[in-house]
Amino acid sequence: MSDTDHPSAAASPSDIADDVDEAALARVLRVVPLGAAVVAGTTVALLVIGYLAIYLLIFLPRGAVG
């Protein structure tokens, strides 16, 4: 690929963005929220499980304080 094939302000041909297939992008974006929800949901679930374990198994058995 020569510089003249892709008129662009980019200094190097490797910095020029590829053409976007809008249809393919739409297909991918349809699935992305589900994947993000699974990753974020798993992360938050682990955090909540850790919090509950410390709260219920360590903090509460230590008794009242105030």
Binding site: A26, L29, P33, A36, A37, R62, G63, V65, G66
Partner: protein
């Protein structure tokens, strides 16, 4: 697979975000609900005593004068511990408390901000000059518990610790002044 219009994608993403926001809302409500529930049912609260004291004169007279420090059992049977956190020690260095009785712990400092926790318990408070930190709790197990300063207070911070000696109620015998000291071992 037919491509859906952009507006449909937007709605799907918005729906996911709203579902996530709802889930987070439920979690926050559940955690706050647990905190309120335990506060109301088993009396677990953050220490919230606000009581002022002059840090320049607290050692001269009053409840934090040297002769009043340590563990005291009042005429009504209430157990109160008074201690001073100072660079770089707790006075007294050993605190005797009974098992399975409500104990009121009162701390103050004449110099800088300190903090303390008692290992294996929920006792955890800051000790700020000009204020009396008060925590009450019931110690459930006998033994010696470490009470370190947990707020950096200077070069000797790591040497600042005390011992809380939890003794069976049968061994917790106040003298005629109502005072109890750690057992010598």
């Amino acid at each position: 697979m037919t491509d859906q219009p952009a507006a449909t994608h937007e709605r799907r993403i918005l729906g996911t975000e709203l579902l996530w926001a709802f889930g987070v809302g439920v979690l926050v409500a559940a955690v706050l609900g647990m905190i309120v529930f335990t506060a109301l049912t088993i009396d677990i609260n953050p220490p919230s005593n606000v009581e002022r004291i002059d840090p320049k004169t607290l050692h001269l007279s009053g409840e934090f004068a040297e002769q009043n420090l340590g563990t005291t059992v009042g005429a009504d049977g209430r157990v109160t511990v008074r201690a001073i956190a100072t660079q770089f020690m707790f006075v007294p260095h050993c605190i005797a408390v009974p098992q399975e009785r409500l104990v009121t712990l009162r701390f103050t400092t004449p110099d800088v901000i300190h903090g303390l926790l008692i290992t294996g318990t929920n006792v955890n408070t800051m000790v700020v000059p000009g204020f009396v930190a008060q925590v009450y709790t019931t110690f459930t197990r006998t033994g010696d518990l470490l009470m370190p300063c947990h707020e950096y207070c200077g070069l000797g911070h790591s040497d600042m610790w005390a011992t809380v000696q939890v003794m069976p109620d049968s061994d917790f015998k106040p003298d005629r002044d109502g005072r109890v000291s750690c057992a010598q071992r």
